[in-house]
Amino acid sequence: MSGLSAFLTDAIAYLAPLSAVAMGGLATEYVGSLNIALEGLIVVGAFSYAVFGLLLDPVAAYVAALAVPAAVAYASDLFSRKTRADSFVVGLGVNMLAPAAASIVSQAVFGTKGVAVVPGLQAARSFGGLAALPLAGPLFGQRWTDYLAVAAAALVALALARTPFGTRARAAGMNADSLAMAGLDAGRVRGAAYAVSGLACGAAGAALAASVGAWVPSMSAGRGWIALVAVYLGGKRLGGTFAACALFALLLSLANGAQAVSSAPAELLMSAPYFLTAAVVIAGSARSRRRR
C-alpha cells in the first residue's frame, strides 16, 4: 500500500464512527436540545461491545452496543424532562458517569481497570481484495463494524432528511406548539431523537472496540466532543456536518501519520489533533461572524 492510500484508509477508518456520532448529535440538535453526552455514550457503546463480546458472541455484542447507549440516552432525556433538570447538566453527568461505571464493571468482569483484550472480538476487514483498486481502494478493506457505523450515519441522515420523524424533530426544535397543534407530543419526539443519538454513538463505540479487539479506557479519545464541534461548524445541517467530519478525519489522520515519519517530539504530535480541532473551531467561528 502506498503512503497516500494508507493515509486515506486511516482517514476513512476515523471518519466512519465520527460521522455516526455527529449525525446522532444532529438529531438532538434538530429537536432543539443538543445532546452533549455523545462522548460518554461512545464509551457506553464500546464497553457494552467488549462485555457482551466476552459473555456472548460478536453479533449479540453488536446489538448490545447499539441498545445499551440508546437506552441510556433515552433515560437521561426522560430524566431531564420529568424532573425539569437542565439537559446540559444531565449530559455532563452522563459523560462523567460512563467511564467511571465502565471502570467498576470492568474490574468485576475482566478483573482489570485497564486494557482488556477480548479474543475473537476484533472485526475482520472486508472486501480486502478490492483495496488495491486505484482511487477507490481506501474505501475497501475496512472492518465490517466501520461499514456498519457508516450505515448508521447514513440511516440517521436519511431519517432526518426524508422521513416524517425528521420533519417532526425540526418542528419540535422550532416551535413545540406546532406539534401540539398536530396532536403530537414534543417530549416523545425529543426522546426518540435522544435514543437515535445513543444508537449512533453505540455504532461508533463498537467500531472503536472492534478495531483493536479490546476494551481500552478512554478509547473514545474526544470523538464525542469533536462530533459536537462538527455539528456547529457544519451549520447544524446534514451536508455541512458531514463535511466538517471529513475535514476533521483528514486533519487528524494527517497528524497521526506524521508521528511515524516526523522527528518532532512525540508529545507535540500526539496533541496535534486537539490543536487542529481548536484551530478549525476558531477559523469556523471567525468565518460565521464575518457572515453576520
Binding site: 426524508r162 422521513t163 416524517p164 425528521g166 420533519t167 417532526r168 425540526r170 418542528a171 422550532m174 416551535n175 406548539d177 406546532s178 406539534l179 401540539a180 397543534m181 398536530a182 396532536g183 403530537l184 407530543d185
Partner: protein, 497 residues
C-alpha cells in the same frame, strides 16, 4: 339540536392561582357562528383551549352530538372533528406551509419516507377549495403575517371537522383576507358546521354571528341572539362600559419634523413594497397610515424603525438618517416602537413579564440593583399599572394571553415621553378598555410634544385619534380626510374616489 356543549366547566391554574374559567356552560348548534366576547383575561382563550383538547377542565362535561367526551390531547379533539385556529402563531417557522399542515398526518412513500410532493399537492387542493393563495413550498418564516394566518386556518380545516374554533382570527388580517375568511365561514356554516368565533370587533361580530356569549372573570355571563343587539350595546358588552375618549385634537400647531421619509422605495417580500413614499410626522401630531395586508405597510414599518435600508430615498429621524443612530441612542428617548411582530420583535418570550416591562431601562440599573431584583420589580409594577397589568410580574411572558402581552409592550414603549412614537398595529389583541387607554395615552403624548405615527390595518385606529391619515395602496401613499371612513375604504381598496 346541539353540536358541542360544555356544562359547568372550570379550570384552575395553580401556577398563577387563578380560576381562569369558573363554571362556564356553553353550547354550539350546527350551522351557527357563536361569538365569544369579553375583556382580555376573561377566560375566552382558556375556554377555547378546553373545547379543543389543549387543556383538560378540572370539572364539568364536554359533549359532542350528545355524547360525553374527554380529550387527552388536541389529537383527540381533532379526531372528534374539532379544528382550532390559535390567536398567535403555532407554526414551525422553518418548515414549509405544506409541511406545517401535514405535520402529524404526513403522506408517506413506501410507508417510511415523507412524500413532500404529495403533501404540497394536498395543500394546494385544500387551499384551492377554500379560496386561499399560498405557495405550498414557501417556508413559513418568509410568509407575511396574513399568509401565516391562512396556513393556520388551512391546518384547522385539513382534518375535515365540523366544529371550528377561531381565536381572534382577523387581528392581523387586511380587508381582503378578512372578507375571504368571512366568505369561508359562511360556506362552512351553510354546510352545517358550527363555528366558535372569539373577537373584540363589534362590527365583525354583528356581521357574522348568530349568537353572542359574554365572558367576564371566567364566568359565562349571558348568551344573546345577535339580532337583539346593535353595535353600541355590543361594544358595551365587549368593553364593559369603557369608551375611547375623543382626546385633545388640534389644540396646538405641529412643531418640527421628527420623522421624514423622502421618496422612499423598498422592494419587500412578495407584494409588500414601498414605491416612492413621502411622509412627514411633526412633533405634536398623530399621523395614521392605514393599509390592508400586502400593500407595503410591513415595508413602511421596516424603513421607519430603521430595520431596513431603503432601496432609494431617505428616512430621517430628527434630520438624521435613522440607520445612523446607535440602537442605544434610539432607545434612550428618541423613539418608542411598538412592532407588529410582537412575539418576534416586541418581547423576549422566555423572560418574565417584569423583565420585559423594564427592558428599556436595563442599561440604567447597576449590577447590584439588577441582581437584587427589587428595583426592576418595583419599576415593572409602576410601568404595568398604567395598563392594568397586574399579579404576575414573575411569570414568563409567553404564559400570558396575546392581549396581555400586547399590553406589556404598549406599557413599556409608552412609559416615557419619546420624541417619536412608531406604533404598528398597536391595538392588536387589545380589548375595549385597553384600547381606550392606549389611544388616550397617545393623545397625551401628542399634547406633550411627541410625534406619533400609527401604522395599522384597522381603519378604526385612524379615526380614533389621528390628525392626518393616509391610505397605503400598492406601495403608494394617499392622503385621506381624518375620520372619513368611506374615503379610507375606497383608497385602501383602490376604488375610484
Amino acid at each position: 339540536m346541539r353540536l358541542l356543549s360544555l356544562g359547568s366547566v372550570s379550570k384552575y391554574y395553580s401556577s398563577t392561582a387563578t380560576l381562569a374559567v369558573d363554571g362556564a356552560s356553553f353550547e354550539l348548534r350546527p350551522g351557527e357562528v357563536h361569538a365569544l366576547v369579553g375583556e382580555n383575561g376573561a377566560g375566552k382563550s382558556t375556554l377555547a383551549k378546553i373545547m379543543c383538547g389543549f387543556e383538560s377542565p378540572d370539572s364539568g362535561r364536554i359533549e359532542l352530538r350528545g355524547e360525553g367526551l374527554s380529550f387527552g390531547s388536541h389529537r383527540d379533539a381533532e379526531r372528534a372533528g374539532i379544528g382550532f385556529v390559535p390567536q398567535y402563531s403555532m407554526l414551525a417557522p422553518g418548515l414549509t406551509a405544506a409541511e406545517n399542515v401535514a405535520l402529524g398526518h404526513e403522506p408517506r412513500m413506501l410507508g417510511v419516507f415523507a412524500d413532500r410532493r404529495r403533501a404540497a399537492y394536498d395543500f394546494s387542493i385544500l387551499a384551492d377549495r377554500y379560496g386561499f393563495v399560498v405557495d405550498p413550498d414557501a417556508v413559513v418564516s418568509t410568509l407575511s403575517a396574513a399568509e401565516r394566518r391562512e396556513v393556520e386556518i388551512l391546518r384547522a380545516l385539513s382534518r375535515g371537522g365540523d366544529v371550528l374554533v377561531l381565536d381572534e382570527p382577523t387581528s392581523i388580517l387586511g380587508e381582503r383576507e378578512t372578507s375571504a375568511l368571512f366568505a369561508l365561514i359562511g360556506r362552512l356554516k351553510d354546510a352545517g358546521a358550527g363555528i366558535v368565533y372569539i373577537s373584540h370587533r363589534a362590527r365583525e361580530i354583528l356581521e357574522l354571528a348568530d349568537r353572542i356569549s359574554v365572558m367576564r372573570s371566567g364566568r359565562l355571563e349571558s348568551t344573546v341572539a345577535a339580532s337583539d343587539v346593535d353595535e353600541r350595546s355590543l361594544a358595551d358588552m365587549i368593553m364593559g362600559g369603557a369608551s375611547i375618549p375623543a382626546g385633545e385634537r388640534g389644540g396646538q400647531e405641529p412643531g418640527a419634523a421628527m420623522l421624514e421619509l423622502r421618496g422612499v422605495s423598498l422592494g419587500g417580500r412578495g407584494a409588500d413594497r414601498l414605491d416612492g413614499a413621502d411622509l412627514v410626522v411633526r412633533s405634536g401630531e398623530i399621523v395614521a397610515v392605514i393599509a390592508l395586508g400586502g400593500n407595503g405597510l410591513e415595508a413602511l414599518e421596516a424603513v421607519a424603525c430603521g430595520e431596513a435600508e431603503p432601496d432609494s430615498g431617505e428616512a430621517l429621524v430628527r434630520g438624521r438618517p435613522v440607520r445612523s443612530y446607535a440602537r442605544r441612542e434610539l432607545v434612550s428617548g428618541v423613539m418608542a416602537y411598538i412592532p407588529t411582530d410582537r412575539e418576534g420583535r416586541g418581547l423576549c418570550a422566555k423572560a418574565s413579564v417584569a423583565l420585559n416591562a423594564v427592558a428599556r431601562r436595563l442599561p440604567s440599573y447597576s449590577f447590584r440593583e439588577f441582581a437584587a431584583g427589587e428595583a426592576p420589580l418595583a419599576d415593572a409594577g409602576a410601568i404595568l399599572s398604567a395598563f392594568n397589568v397586574r399579579n404576575w410580574p414573575r411569570r414568563r411572558i409567553d404564559t400570558l394571553s396575546g392581549g396581555n402581552r400586547q399590553r406589556v409592550v404598549v406599557a413599556r414603549e409608552l412609559e416615557r415621553q419619546a420624541s417619536l412614537v412608531i406604533a404598528a398595529n398597536p391595538a392588536q389583541g387589545l380589548d375595549g378598555s385597553s384600547r381606550a387607554a392606549l389611544f388616550s395615552r397617545l393623545s397625551e403624548m401628542r399634547a406633550a410634544g411627541s410625534a406619533v405615527l400609527i401604522l395599522s390595518s384597522d381603519p378604526e385606529d385612524a379615526s380614533a385619534v389621528a390628525d392626518r391619515s393616509f391610505a397605503l395602496y400598492r406601495g403608494r401613499l394617499k392622503a385621506v380626510g381624518p375620520a372619513d371612513e368611506s374615503a379610507i375604504a375606497a383608497a385602501l381598496t383602490g376604488a375610484a374616489p
